[in-house]
Symmetry: none
Subunit: 413 residues, 2 copies
């Protein structure tokens, strides 16, 4: 078998719809993308539905699939975020996404984000990390970006079938919720009790924490409460790299993507200049992608900005973000070794006019040695819809790439 490799360049939220401000072109059609179009004219294209037609997916689910898992392997957002911020997550762990919040003396949530706190959340978190609630239960707590954090409960007989303490009201001013079991199991009842005790105890600790005292003195909202949501039990997942006996890396700025990558067994590579926005360092990303593919079988390189601009309904900005993606891809193509496939993909569509992820398919492309070149000359939602790969699910797309690098087992003899 030939020794072949693959780089997948992912433009987050790339897919869009024709937009009136762009002469009824999509941002991808409107953007100047000479590199993407050259790849289209030399490669094979198609469309991809991450799960199936019409089903929107989150960034985590979209990447889970692009990394080679099936949708039913989704472990929940909590475990992915935990891994993304460098926490060790073990099968059976109950993982929560959390906000630092401000509650008043009556338990009313004054601010779900504690004044969008950004500073010293690591010190505040350290006061909760490892607190003792009950024998045999370990507590791990770590801050994520801004007001966000992750909580892990580890121990026997725990369940993720419990409700959120986060009232998630569109406006603040509602009380935080007591955590309730969501099924009749004794595990759920026990976990709810443990979590309520933990929230109460941590509220007491945080209320008198020096950093919060200082915030109070400065007129800032204190981070005196942990709102929990989205309890998820970590499943046992065999890393994709083990299943396929490959080695790989993922270059990204976003912790969700890096979390999924690590779950799948890909080495996370990041840098503070990878900002998750339009000022991200594409030169560095391209250079690292080329350096990594010299050592690895598969390299993922991700750019977040198109998704951000889609959420913000900024079609011109989204087109610019796509031009940034085009630049990055151009830098990679320049020095791409002959035995490396270059695949273009997105995790989902984020049409500007919607400002949310939608279920429309995204354009995909494969360029490289011995590829069956199709008749398509442009990388866009409309052109690729007629491409030679046809319409694939995310799983079919990634398996196509695995097939090209020769790591899919033959069925029959």
């Amino acid at each position: 078998m030939l020794k072949r490799k693959v780089i997948m360049a992912i433009a987050d939220g790339l897919g869009d719809r024709p937009h009136p401000l762009l002469e009824y072109k999509t941002p991808l059609e409107y953007a100047q993308t000479p590199n993407l179009d050259r790849l289209a004219s030399e490669g094979i294209t198609g469309m991809m539905n991450p799960i199936s037609s019409g089903i929107p997916v989150g960034t985590d689910m979209g990447h889970l699939i692009l990394f080679g898992y099936q949708p039913h392997h989704y472990p929940g957002r909590g475990p992915i975020e935990a891994i993304g911020i460098g926490m060790q997550v073990e099968p059976g762990d109950i993982v929560f996404r959390c906000n630092f919040a401000t509650v008043d003396e009556n338990g009313i949530v004054v601010d779900r984000r504690a004044g969008r706190i950004r500073e010293k959340t690591d010190e505040i978190a350290e006061a909760i990390n490892g607190i003792e609630i009950e024998d045999g239960i370990e507590v791990f707590f770590k801050p994520a970006t801004e007001h966000r954090a992750v909580l892990i409960l580890r121990g026997n007989g725990l369940s993720d079938k419990i409700s959120d303490s986060d009232p998630k009201a569109p406006h603040d001013g509602k009380p935080y919720h007591q955590v309730e079991p969501m099924d009749a199991s004794k595990e759920a009842a026990r976990t709810a009790t443990i979590l309520n005790m933990l929230l109460k105890k941590s509220h007491a600790i945080l209320s008198s924490h020096p950093i919060n005292m200082k915030r109070n003195a400065e007129g800032k909202l204190p981070a005196n409460f942990i709102l929990t949501r989205g309890a998820g039990k970590m499943v046992k997942l065999e890393p994709i790299v083990q299943q396929l006996k490959v080695k790989g890396s993922c270059i990204a700025g976003e912790s969700t993507v890096l979390g999924v990558a690590q779950l799948a067994g890909f080495k996370p590579i990041t840098d503070s200049s990878m900002t998750g926005n339009i000022d991200t360092n594409v030169e560095l990303k391209a250079r690292l992608a080329l350096e990594e593919i010299a050592k690895q079988d598969m390299v993922y390189v991700h750019i977040k900005a198109p998704d951000v601009k889609g959420h913000d309904n900024e079609p011109f900005e989204k087109a610019k973000a796509i031009e940034l993606f085009d630049q990055m891809v151009g830098l990679i193509v320049q020095d791409l070794p002959e035995n490396v496939y270059l695949a273009l993909a997105a995790d989902h569509s984020t049409p500007c006019e919607v400002g949310e992820h939608t279920g429309e398919p995204v354009p995909i492309l494969i360029h490289g040695p011995g590829i069956r070149r199709d008749r398509i000359m442009q990388y866009s939602e409309l052109d690729c819809a007629h491409g030679g790969l046809g319409h694939l699910t995310g799983n079919e797309f990634i398996r196509t790439l695995h097939g090209l690098i020769g790591v899919v087992k033959k069925q029959g003899n």
Copy 2:
């Protein structure tokens, strides 16, 4: 319902990739194929993944699907090979692929193929066929091509969860393996014991067999041992012809294809002039296909040569093999009755540059009465990727044909 029939012409291993020696055309694009292209311009085309994108299949699996089974019906290579050489295989039978081999007095495998023995293997096999090992266990043994043979154990309480006696070393000079149970069941333990007794007893018989004595005298390696591998338990499969209430034939030179055909209930038709290579008798195949379709509902006609040339990385020869396929199809089209669909297919891709089966889709085509003609004018991997049938799985493709001849049950009312 109109009385319609179908001939499927299968070019084994047809699918390929653009090849530098062929001006970056695939062998199918490069070959002169006026008949295939005429059918494309008059018919409807598409692409087929036997199982799903990226998954390579063996010839047996590929044909199992083209004959109408689902991938999970795969009974293993042993049963297919057994049926292909005319053995009766019953559900529950444990079937082994075997080699005649030469072992020395210490059990060292001197040659896994007994000097690539070809002569009188039927006489040697007859000495083992029917030997008695234990009450209630029947033994069937029959030679296949060259040094190969098939062994069947029939009786209650047998298991296929046992290991190989074939050391399958890249080089000879290792001892043959004792057969071991591969799970904790008493059936596996019993089957391993029976097989070890059988191997010992047959070694004794073969060592003093007159043909081997003669080979020894002539300085040839004796076929004094049976190496077994790939134990498979025959499943109960309802023949496709019974499921659909149709009658059919299969014209082929290769025992694997004929084996699958018989499993599916299709009458096997072969001739020594069907060589499995580029000198195969396509006039005879075409004539027989037309003769058979007069009597049957479905006829498969198979040509092996494109796969052989793909394995050998001979793109020009593969193009010639495809021109042979084109000739055969031309002869069939000439005299095709008006009520007969002609379908073109392949079981898998065997790209020259890889020399192995790969998971890339193969072009498919349907020509015949009332067909929805698409815009495609050439039968090739690239043109058909834009065809009107879209991208189908093997099962969807064969069901499309079953639908056209009116043997698919309506769902609902």
